[in-house]
Symmetry: C2
Subunit: 785 residues, 2 copies
């Protein structure tokens, strides 16, 4: 169980902690306390090893396909954090002896992991341990570690094996060929390995600085090299009162690094350069480096994304900081060839692949908080156009059909073919989304549209954005199927956002989003034709425009049934039997329905995995589709209630959309309740839920729910709307967003909305239907709600 | 520390046990208690996992080269022995709580592993555990396991995860592509995987039989499939007095299996067939299968290789049984495409490769105890002829140059290029034997000669043996280098048996063995020409004969120096400085000299890793090289004393040769002391020495030292000589050997040698220089010695 109360004084609501050690529940803190800087992600496995640990280091973008039966994935790089510690020859482990004052803390403010405790060995020897660790935010290649031991009672002999271990794998899949490993100048360790298929070189360096009673010791360590390992063994005798300190500075570089692009690449140069770099870092030592890391983090994160919530539940404030911490740790702001994986860089699950999670759940934060990073993430998708075109051709379509799971931009579709067990047949279940979950292409077009509206970044649109929208529109035009009977185009045999329904026809979300994509392409074509005829000619979309126009006009857009206005999720959903979902609605773990039904059976019940129709309502309202998606407030309410009753939120993407929707229809208490549940997806008491990695989309959703939900910030057709509805427990919220390159500071209570702009442009905003012009600041009294 | 005293009554001196559990020293019992049947080798890792365990299952011959930087090796197959056991939700581990009456026993008589103890959980709940396990000796594909738990005090909930886990690797090297895995008929697990390069399919099957208080329960288990894993989870509530039992029957088959050769191979067929087979085995259950396994073991091992020693140290008897047990477990008697690895099937080290260890240290046992198996092992070498010819060509030679390390017969040289750390440079050391340790080819010729003499197996010689000797002779003829100054042929830049001397010229062992090989080829050519002219024509060795003759006559054969008769190990050895080796002679671990000197430095000291010149004396005496190797008893003695003082026995191959040599020169007490040390290589108190696997050559050496040393059995030019010199502590030894297809039973005391023959042929034997004709039995009084 995580403890939120450990931060005191300046660190109040800044610290996520574990106060008890449990070897059965290592995954929780490994994941939620992971360290990262967008380049690397390091799970916070403890230094001393445990059986059920998951020790991972991922370098963003270093995808490798281990063999033809596997899909490409982010490989688990060599480990450098494990320390084999022995006290008087016996293995040190918290499973033995007795530990007091235990805490493992992630300090969000400093982005530093601290673990400390007093440990009494089974033989009664008392030692004070303190471990600290950070992933540097200035030099993205550096990890700093420190171990401090104070001998409190009897004399002990402390020994430590520490090195670089390339025996790691991804659940048994080995992605690396063994390369050189060596010890340079007696104490610098270096290990090189190369991915098997993508041929990316990884160069790991490590150096140790040892001190006893603050005096550096340079005594001889035992050196050893074995298969895929190089390490040193230290030994120190400690008397009562003695303190021992070991700093370990670690770097990792790869041949894929963006900062290598400038020079012609040579492995030998990288080995030499990285060694020389670490030699310089060694001169600074842990403390100086940690201090500059803390300053960098303050400047680039907390000064950039200020977010204050005054809530009766202080956890709400912590949850927002937790969200901002992880959004930063996962964002590859330094490299526009990289995306964000569904588990970010915190676990093997989903293999580092980017899903629609990025565009719909994570990108909004960046669009409104770090537009440059949002642009970088969309550029990543632009770089994926060639392989999206390839996928379209392979499937008999035109334009760009984005892969459901995307890895390195040129990798193409990366969705695996087989999943977990089918409890009926005893075989693995087939994973269909890579084949038939098509809405991703429209989701990306939608994200381009949102980014363009919020930033006004014309340069991006002309270089990348328009082309992405045109190409996805071409795809949809080719994807539509003519139904002779209906005399309409339709989209059959798909999976919509609700993945509990496979092979459905006319999933409302998919059809409307395809329609939106076509209309958006038409709109952009008109804009480009008018403003930049030369570019328009280059895009060569004149003929396509006509096709988009005629097909959009004839596309089947599901209509609400009468009299209850329920929009059918697909052609058959509303005809399926209902079952009593009570048991699954109350579940403590997700997807328990699979214990009773196999996918085929779930397919034939009115049960929804995650926001689908409800999400559609939310997205459509932010577009120009007024005429085609004219739903009353009553219909919104009816659909929310209907689908909420049937939605198990078995995807972590689901809850925060329902928060926003509930808030929109005035179900404020329920919205807050769902928000609290959403915050608990990773931070909550279920100690296993984060084992496989952080829920990146849910992390983005926390920010979204607060800003788009409670603060009521929403853009619609390029207009910024703010309709705050703070939860009863919230007194005030303050945060900053970017709009049209201007930084806007919001200060909201239940009575008053204050906006301060740092820019000089006047901005039109709307609150509760009334328009305002914001130049420098604006105060809008809020009506009761 | 191993305990030898646990076997009682009928099992006295049959049981090797551990009485204390130590998580720091798991390797010892994993190795020395390994289970095997020549087809598969299973390290005896405990069911519940520990951090430092080494869990291995090897299937002989299934070599795979994981990538171009690696050499081919025996892959670690999927694990089926691990059980994740929880008591009331807490992980069961002997590192927690309290255990009493602990023992882990290998019963050599039954070839069964038993582990039992009473465990009190940290919460005070008392349980009696008993685990048993065997590797079936009739159906080579089957492993049987049983777990019994009796609830002694409070009620507990016992839960177990058990399945097939293909996440195993060889120190991080993954040899398998993931294949199908499934659960058939609710409780049969099946997992298929295929090696990456050699494309060998492995099909693993497992089934569980659960009982509570002897009643089979078939309650629903949770089923799960994940990446490279398939498993079941069981749960049972136990009240005080309740007993729980789980049998797990496991099979493994591969597409390389010999018993698959008959039918056209199909993976689907193998999957179906192996599943059907396990279904039948399930009907029998653990106890019936274990009983038939015990009977098979008795019949095929203890009835075949009776060996009784009456010694004041009962351990001597146990050591002989230990040797016979492992010689059986390692021998692939079922398949003449397979060899014996230097660590047999008990560890990753040496990668399952066959070295000269087989011919010189292991094969003698089989020649004299199981000639069919000896023939099979030599046939394996015959099958390696094409790749030995390839190696010769690649190195610019003719004939057959055997690889220093041999894997699958067609794999060619399999010696890796890089080893452990060079403490001076910090880099890995280069492994030279694959390039320049050439004596292996002559060692194989010597083994053919020994086999032919002992068995008189003409059919083997005509099909395989002669060709091997001719081809290796062709190699040597091409390998010799003319030294203009000496006006002799010589052999430069080699490693002899003493691997502490790299790049030496005219290593005495190599030169004499090459000479022997040439002379043997000439001898065999004469024999074949006379007895089978047609075959002689086919071999086409007439011209080669002349070359052998002239080159052998001009080959430099090092001569003893005067006046002390020391035979120089090579051209420079006797000129190197001596250092004080006292520290290393007293070492508890081997190769401690590398802590102070790097290989280059060791190369320049009069220090010898292992029997070299001493081994040469021992081998030469068994040949026809009377004229060229006429050393006096005094010279033997001088050389033994000289080299013994300089030999660190840092190879486990070394000691037993020195046992025999010491006995030969009348140093009986020292011989026995060395014998005791040799027995302790695996069975001794050094708890780390067997971590990497059993010392197969040392195991063969135990038998050799007893039979060739103490019993003084030796063949010389086809004559069986028996000169018993029992150690003072031995009252009597009885054993059986085969000679010329006849089984001879020996019964030796210090006064009397009794030999009983089961055959009808008269056999000429010599004892202390006197010849005897043995028809049915013979009693020869022994002189005092």
């Amino acid at each position: 169980m995580l403890d939120y109360s450990l931060g005191q004084g300046a660190y109040e609501n800044w610290v996520l902690a574990e106060r008890d050690f449990s070897a059965l529940h290592l995954g929780k803190s490994e994941t939620v306390m992971m360290l990262g800087n967008g380049y690397l992600g390091l799970r916070s496995a403890t230094e001393e090893p445990y059986l059920n640990e998951q020790r991972n280091l991922f370098i963003n973008g270093t995808f490798n396909q281990a063999d033809k039966n596997e899909v490409t994935e982010l490989p688990n790089a060599a480990d450098t954090t494990r320390l084999d510690i022995r006290i008087d020859g016996q293995r040190f482990s918290l499973e033995f002896g007795n530990s007091e004052d235990y805490s493992k803390q992630l300090n969000l403010k400093n982005a530093e992991l601290i673990r400390s405790f007093v440990w009494t060995s089974p033989k009664g020897k008392e030692l004070q341990f303190r471990f600290s660790r950070f992933a540097f935010f200035d030099n993205l290649h550096l990890i700093g570690m420190k171990m401090e031991v104070e001998c409190l009672s009897h004399a002990v002999v402390l020994s430590i094996d520490s090195g670089i271990d390339a025996r790691m794998s991804n659940s048994g899949v080995q992605h690396f060929l063994e390369g050189d490993h060596r010890i340079i100048e007696e104490h610098f360790l270096q290990l090189t390995q190369t991915t098997t298929q993508s041929e990316i070189d990884f160069v790991h360096n490590a150096v140790h600085i040892l001190k006893i009673n603050d005096e550096r010791i340079t005594g001889k360590a035992d050196k050893d090299i074995d298969r895929r390992r190089v390490w040193l063994s230290f030994e120190a005798g400690l008397e009562p009162g003695d303190s021992f300190e070991m700093e370990k500075l670690i770097t990792v570089h790869t041949s894929r690094d963006k900062d290598r692009d400038a020079e012609p690449y040579s492995l030998m140069h990288l080995q030499k350069h990285s060694h020389a770099e670490l030699k310089k870092l060694e001169e600074k030592g842990y403390e100086k480096l940690a201090e500059s890391h803390r300053l960098a983090w303050q400047k680039k994160v907390w000064d950039e994304y200020p977010f204050e919530v005054e809530s009766e539940n202080p956890t709400d404030q912590l949850a927002l900081r937790f969200s901002l911490y992880h959004l930063t740790a996962m964002a590859p702001a330094h490299d526009d060839r990289l995306g964000i994986g569904a588990k970010a860089l915190s676990g093997e699950a989903y293999k580092g692949h980017s899903f629609w999670d990025t565009e719909i759940f994570i990108l909004p934060f960046f669009i409104f908080s770090a537009p440059e990073t949002a642009r970088s993430l969309l550029t990543y998708r632009y770089r994926g156009l060639p392989s999206a075109r390839r996928k379209a051709i392979e499937n008999g379509y035109a334009g760009a059909m984005y892969p459901w799971e995307m890895a390195w931009p040129t990798d193409g579709e990366a969705t695996p073919e087989w999943g977990g067990i089918d409890i009926v047949t005893g075989e693995r279940t087939k994973i269909w989304p890579g084949l038939i979950e098509h809405h991703i292409s429209a989701d990306i077009a939608f994200a381009v549209y949102q980014y363009a509206n919020a930033t006004g970044d014309k340069e991006f649109m002309e270089r990348y954005g328009y082309e992405m929208v045109f190409e996805t529109a071409r795809f949809w035009a080719s994807r539509l199927e003519w139904n002779e009977k209906r005399q309409q185009f339709e989209i059959t045999d798909v999976i919509g956002p609700d993945e509990y329904k496979e092979h459905v026809d006319n999933n409302a979300f998919t059809n409307y989003m395809a329609y939106f994509n076509l209309k958006l392409a038409m709109h952009y074509a008109e804009v480009v034709e008018k403003k930049n005829p030369e570019l328009f000619a280059k895009f060569d979309v004149e003929q396509a425009y006509c096709e988009w126009h005629s097909k959009a006009a004839q596309l089947h857009l599901p209509k609400p049934r009468e009299p209850d206005s329920i929009l059918p999720q697909d052609d058959t959903y509303l005809q399926l039997p209902d079952i009593d979902l009570g048991k699954y609605k109350k579940q403590k773990k997700s997807r328990t329905i699979y214990r009773d039904y196999n996918p085929e059976q779930v397919n034939r019940i009115q049960v929804t995995k995650q926001a689908d129709v409800v999400l559609l309502f939310y997205l459509m309202e932010q577009t120009f589709l007024k005429d085609d998606f004219r739903f009353t407030q009553q219909a919104k309410r009816a659909n929310f209630l209907y689908y909420e009753a049937r939605t198990l939120h078995d995807s972590s993407l689901s809850l925060t959309t329902h928060v926003i929707a509930a808030n929109d229809i005035g179900e404020y208490e329920y919205a807050y309740e769902l928000f609290r549940r959403a915050c608990l997806i990773d931070m909550g008491p279920n100690m296993d839920s984060s084992d496989d990695g952080i829920h990146a989309a849910a992390i983005g959703g926390i920010w979204k729910a607060a800003v788009f939900g409670f603060a009521g910030v929403r853009q619609s057709e390029g207009v910024l709307k703010i309709n705050p509805r703070l939860p009863v427990k919230w007194k005030r919220m303050q945060f900053r967003i970017y709009w049209q390159s201007q930084s806007l500071q919001f200060d909201i209570t239940d009575k008053l909305l204050k906006i301060t702009s740092e820019g000089n442009k006047s901005i039109h905003v709307e609150t509760d239907g009334t328009g305002y012009e914001l130049l420098h600041s604006l105060e809008i009294p809020l009506a009761d709600y």
